[in-house]
């Protein structure tokens, strides 16, 4: 589904997203439930950043959100941690029989972005430059593809775990699913993709659902789900209890599309 952002931009251009009121404006003459929910969202969230609705929106949102987090926190410990996970992903792909040169450029480009958002290097970049790169097809699509490689590796590696979800949803094998729904650019992401990426990189992700569902009793509430990797994979900054976990990446899901949400 093609939704949301202005044509041509992969990630919207506001320095700290757009205020949630722009989201409400989209539904002004639409569903009252959605407007009610957006009001509830406003208690916790300040802004939204839109990503292009080209089927890569989950991965692109993740890319921008993660790199922006590192840029703002300068959390070198987290960078060291994720680099170890990235190397594990590389080994996973190798052990699955993927040929190195088909994925190494994508890995190298992501690692370069990680180094560049850390300040104090020759190549350090500003927030504005991060935005530019996220909107530059040659960088942005390569990083999206990197995440697709990571995701496919994780799903195939843990094929017995993912198999029931995949056969329930698509009636295909794990291999067919990866080939047709993970590895090609532009294929939309589902909870399998999110689970696999979150687990592989050890990064918790919160997805907030904005849809027309409502519970009758007790007024409108907005559901969310935290994708929490197994303990031991987690960034050092997050607390281990999954009840109280507070992912630093939050996405807004509307059926068919993911954008980035900024908490207050």
């Amino acid at each position: 589904m093609q939704r949301g952002p202005t044509a041509g931009s992969m990630v919207s251009n506001h320095s700290r997203g757009e205020p949630l009121s722009t989201l409400a404006a989209e539904y002004q003459s639409g569903s009252p439930i959605l407007l009610e929910k957006i009001k509830v969202l406003g208690d916790k969230y300040a802004a939204i950043r839109r990503t292009r609705g080209d089927g890569n929106c989950f991965f692109r949102s993740f890319m921008f959100s993660y790199l922006e987090h590192i840029l703002e926190t300068q959390d070198r410990e987290e960078v060291d941690r994720i680099k170890i996970k990235v190397e594990e992903c590389r080994k996973t792909l190798q052990s699955l029989g993927y040929v190195d040169f088909t994925f190494e450029d994508f890995f190298a480009l992501f690692l370069e972005q990680l180094d560049d958002v850390l300040q104090g290097n020759e190549n350090s970049i500003s927030h504005e430059e991060l935005l530019n790169r996220s909107r530059d097809q040659s960088v942005s699509d390569y990083v999206v593809m990197f995440f697709r490689f990571v995701t496919t590796g994780e799903i195939r590696k843990r094929s017995p775990f993912f198999e029931p979800f995949i056969s329930g949803l698509t009636n295909t094998t794990v291999e067919q699913f990866c080939k047709s729904s993970v590895e090609p650019m532009g294929e939309e992401s589902d909870h399998m993709h999110i689970t696999a990426l979150s687990d592989a990189l050890g990064v918790p992700i919160r997805v907030v659902y904005l849809d027309r569902s409502s519970c009758e009793a007790g007024g409108v509430s907005v559901n969310h789900h935290n994708f929490v990797p197994a303990p031991g994979n987690l960034p050092s900054a997050t607390s281990v209890s999954s009840e109280s976990i507070n992912p630093f990446i939050t996405m807004l899901y509307r059926p068919g599309h993911y954008d980035i949400l900024y908490p207050k």
Binding site: S95, L96, G97, Y98, V99, F101, T102, F103, D105, F106, S138, D141, Y142, M145, R148, F149, R156, S159, T173, E175, Q176, K179, S180, E183, P184, M185, G186
Partner: protein, 178 residues
Amino acid sequence: MSTPARKRLMRDFKRLQQDPPAGISGAPQDSNIMLWNAVIFGPDDTSWDGGTFKLTLQFSEDYPNKPPTVRFVSRMFHPNIYADGSICLDILQNQWSPIYDVAAILTSIQDNHGGCSGSDFQVLLRLLNDVDFCWNSLLCDPNPNSPANSEAARMFSENKREYNRRVREIVEQSWTAD
């Protein structure tokens, strides 16, 4: 000038030289790494047996994020090959992924449990060999009633003998075409 696409194509070429898959060959043209010539040999024990079929692969600077345009130069008679030689094959269209290199385009790696290390088969060779496979992979045109070559499709399902005769003609033409 070395761009990411060109660098990648050099590595594709190196792999194809070091580890050439059976039944195919391919190389960039002397002056242009973005344009490749390839040859596939008709699979044994099929009506394509003995044929040598030429193709071109035209790459863009978006490679490997975008697939090359692959086209048969030799005349073909096949339900999934258009009159101009272009091919209806999912991985060359909407199911493309940068995991495919030139060797993989010509030779796809069959999946089985435990990963990609299973037995190899040639996608394009198999395209010639097994039309059912093509229907399955025909995401670009899921309607078997409107194939790339409707005459070949109809003959394939209604008159296999005539279909095979036409294929043998194509095989013989492939020996004399330059």
